[in-house]
């Protein structure tokens, strides 16, 4: 398989994640969709590392993996906080900051 196959695959995965972020109403589902997009980015980094023969891409993918996990940890605790103050985790109910 060549590089463009991996790039197209990760573009498709990213689009799926984008669709999920735009249409899901539940905060946990939105976090899962963000995971999809982050994974697409990781896949790209690993693919470039493979086809350029440099380990740097893998290093970056590992960094982004760790950062994504940290993001989800904080995001989930925000979801739990949202649940405590609202009784549900629907995003349209959390609109205080909306202009």
């Amino acid at each position: 398989m060549d590089l463009s196959a991996y790039l197209l695959l990760s573009a498709a995965l990213f689009s799926l994640g984008l669709f999920g972020v735009l249409t899901r109403r539940n905060a946990v589902s939105v976090l899962a969709s963000i995971e999809l997009m982050a994974n697409a980015a990781n896949l790209n980094l690993a693919a470039f590392a493979r086809f350029r023969g440099e380990a740097t891409g893998q290093v970056f993918a590992l960094f982004s993996t760790a950062i994504t996990v940290a993001e989800v940890v904080v995001g989930l605790s925000l979801v739990i906080l949202l649940y405590r103050s609202r009784g549900n985790v629907l995003l349209e109910n959390a609109s205080e900051l909306k202009g």
Partner: protein, 194 residues
């Protein structure tokens, strides 16, 4: 030949489970399909000769993060039977159009870029990745450690139960400001329900 078959299977699994993640009505199914998607990504990492990345993906994402998300779902959805409300179709159409446009833009860019390096190289040893971590990217590595610490502390502070009397009664009320940490020798004060 074998690589093509493995790639096709993994790609199919990745996209179909990704589709289930964004369309499934049941929140637990969403999270489980997410685990399937992450495992398929690990397979692709193996195909890309990044076994260390694949192992980290399985341990950190599929092991740790999935468990965490399942906890999040189970802790926040108990009354609603684990079911999310269906999407309004109008937003669904708009989101679908935007996603297709995004894919078309990227695919067009990939298609029209002539200088993509398609050369096959020798296998990347994992030791090289480790070496880069502790030489060229040592500073970033340390900063990452601080970031993880900050995320852990942030999660603890955010998900601590607010002190008794104020929290969670009134939907829409502001989150009460945190008081001082309770005495760790008397943890029962914290457990009191609002």
């Amino acid at each position: 030949m074998l690589e093509q078959v493995a790639f096709a299977v993994a790609a199919l699994l990745l996209l179909s489970s990704g589709l289930k993640v964004v369309t499934s009505k049941n929140l637990v199914h969403t999270v489980l399909w997410l685990g399937c998607m992450l495992a398929a990504t690990a397979v692709l990492f193996v195909l890309l000769q990044a076994p260390f990345l694949a192992a980290i993906q399985l341990i950190l994402y599929t092991g740790g993060l999935l468990t965490l998300m399942l906890f999040g779902v189970m802790l926040t959805q108990r009354d609603e039977g684990f079911v999310t409300i269906p999407n309004p179709s109008q937003r669904r159409v708009a989101g679908g159009v935007l996603a297709v446009v995004a894919f078309a833009v990227v695919a067009n860019a990939v298609h029209n870029t002539p200088s993509l390096p398609n050369v096959r190289s020798a296998q990347l040893p994992t030791a090289q990745v480790g070496q880069l971590f502790f030489t060229q990217y040592a500073l970033a590595f340390e900063v990452l450690a601080v970031l993880l610490l900050a995320a852990t502390l942030g999660a603890i502070v955010l998900s601590r139960r607010a002190d008794a009397g104020v929290a969670s009664e009134t939907p829409g009320a502001d989150v009460p400001a945190r008081r001082a940490l309770p005495d760790p020798t008397a943890p029962t004060t914290e457990r009191k329900e609002a």
